[in-house]
Symmetry: C2
Subunit: 103 residues, 2 copies
């Protein structure tokens, strides 16, 4: 298995789709997908506002570049001020993976 990395972003939203969150999230997803080293992103959010986004990357350098991307920084700042009650981020190295698909 080629080494790759995951960024786990767990968040608790403030208000339902307040202040342009959905649009910003969509723009951030598109922007992330254009970054060098991006592999894929998965997101899920409960009706109560609890959400998890996992993005996968080829290197720690790619994660660092994305973290410092200027447009992403603006979204991070908005996120802190308006959208999130709290969030946690874990940057991880994937050690092993497997999958199942229903026939």
């Amino acid at each position: 298995m080629k080494t790759y990395y995951a960024v786990i972003f767990t968040s608790k939203r403030t208000v339902e789709d307040g202040e342009g969150y959905a649009k910003m999230a969509e723009v951030m997803d598109e922007l992330a997908q254009k970054q060098p080293g991006f592999i894929r992103v998965e997101s899920a959010r409960n009706a109560d506002g609890k959400g998890i986004t996992v993005s996968y990357w080829e290197s720690l350098e790619a994660i660092q570049v994305w973290r410092e991307n200027s447009k992403h920084l603006v979204a991070q700042q908005f996120g802190k001020e308006k959208w999130y009650m709290q969030y946690n981020v874990e940057i991880c190295q994937v050690i092993k993976d497997y999958s199942f698909i229903q026939n």
Copy 2:
């Protein structure tokens, strides 16, 4: 930071709460929390059936023990047969973490 591990379980459900899924998920969550080395678990699921569960563990051995737990194995088998169209699992070592809480 003390070394710890994350198991990312991304799934696509078959039918809404079919065949006792919710009950089994609840029992599995309770059981996981009793395992040695368990830290915490986070879950979110979209209305369309896409879900992400991340469990955090103190060691790879704890993850292995949980994976081979007999009751959990039954749930895994049910999951393959009935509840999941597909799932992916990544076992990861957390390299770095940070968090934000709204004042």
